[in-house]
Amino acid sequence: MAETKQVIVKVKRQAGPKEAARWEEFSLKWRPSMNVIICLRDIAENPVTRDGKKTTPVTYDSNCLEEICGSCAMLINGKARMACSALVDQLEQPIRIEPMSKFPLVRDLAVDRQFMFESLKRVKAWIPIDGTYNLGEGPRVSPEVQEKGYPLSNCITCGNCLEVCPQVNEHNQFVGAAIISQVRLFNMHPTGAMNKSERIAAIIGPGGIQECANAQNCVHACPKGIPLTESIAEVNRDAWKQALLSWLVG
């Protein structure tokens, strides 16, 4: 019988935000179509390190396993990406798995992405359709706007764009590309446009669009292929018009 192929995985472990970090190495049995989440599940099934020491299952977030929920973003071989779509056969071994560095750590690979959800609230990333009475039908959305908006609506708030952005760091409260792109999406919608100036006012506040320095890493790192740099430019144009010209031309 042929020798079974092994997959070597190194995981950065940390019991809590204030605990010391350490690396643990695991040797797993290779299977076809194996991805990084399967590796973490295999470790949970048999939490024994490569040198035979018993350990605990690795804490991580994941849900949909098809790059649609946005919860399993982590650093795999030093690069921010979704663990569910990171196929073992395409990765160099040992596979190094670390938590994202730009979000507060919860435990092991689990981080707290609350900052992004708070930012979405700040920019009112929704379309107000509820009133105390029936508001009736909204305006029709032209096919052109639908086509532009659909790719933007694919954002899964995974945080990869923030993780790779040199402007997102401890000195800087930059909201990041995903949030700016959502401002564009909801300002594009005819009903959402009714709150356009509020969203723009929020995005030119502290940590707003001005912190973008055009390194354009976000667009390369986005697992959903969202035209983030285009969104930033579009919102930038609306932003300076409102910030610099509204006192002149309303």
């Binding site: 040199p166 100036s197 509020e198 001005q210 890493n217 919102v235 144009r237 910030a243």
Partner: protein, 218 residues
């Protein structure tokens, strides 16, 4: 309901001012400066005429401070502040845009230091009456010459990449195609400024005046 009453954050206004001053007046002045200095490619006399013309403009000090020194000080000073608030990660993510992000910071710092020195040697020490002979004498010093070359290349790169940044950041080049075109325009400006700048340095260093053929023969 008018939420436009919400004033933009001061950092927003300063960032926009930083971006704008990079083109106007700083970038425009660089263009003017290269243009005026290219008179050396014609002849030393032509250079002296052009520089004397500039040295005797009315309200010279006000113009110099308002249109050149203060905007440059702000652009450079605030640029360093922006640099300190970023955290480069080009080793992990070596994409072109990320390289430009890093290079834009180093070339900016080099250009800022160079311009400071250049002002000191060619403006301050000559009491604002620099001539062809002054500059040519400075170019004889190999250290000065090296700094001239480095400064010209850093400034040219910084302006080229800056034009690309400007067009993206003001939403003037929004689509992917437009941003690529803006990048090509920036590259063209960077290369053109580098070439012209180096030609001017050669002109001073080797008394080389290729456009003297335009002069009427005596």
């Amino acid at each position: 309901m008018s939420s436009t009453a919400t004033r933009p954050d001061t950092s927003y206004l300063l960032r926009k001012l930083h971006s704008f001053t990079g083109i106007l007046p700083v970038g425009a002045f660089l263009a003017e400066h290269f243009w005026s200095n290219s008179a050396a490619l014609v002849s030393a006399e032509k250079y002296n005429t052009v520089s004397q013309e500039l040295q005797t403009i009315p309200f010279r000090l006000i113009v110099e401070w308002a249109a050149i020194f203060l905007p440059m000080l702000f652009h450079g000073g605030y640029g360093i502040y922006i640099w300190l608030r970023g955290k480069s990660n080009v080793s992990a993510y070596p994409w072109v845009g990320n390289w430009l992000y890093v290079t834009q910071r180093y070339t900016g710092l080099i250009a800022f230091a160079y311009i400071g020195w250049h002002l000191y040697t060619e403006r301050w020490l000559t009491h604002g009456r620099s001539t062809y002979a002054n500059v040519a004498a400075d170019m004889r010093n190999p250290w000065y010459l090296t700094f001239f070359v480095v400064g010209v290349l850093a400034s040219s790169f910084h302006l080229g990449a800056g034009i690309w940044n400007f067009l993206c950041k003001w939403g003037l080049a929004a689509t992917v195609k437009a941003q690529q075109a803006a990048g090509r325009l920036g590259a063209l400006v960077g290369v053109a400024f580098s070439v012209v700048g180096i030609l001017i340095i050669i002109s001073f260093r080797y008394d080389w005046h290729p456009f003297s053929v335009y002069l009427p023969s005596k």
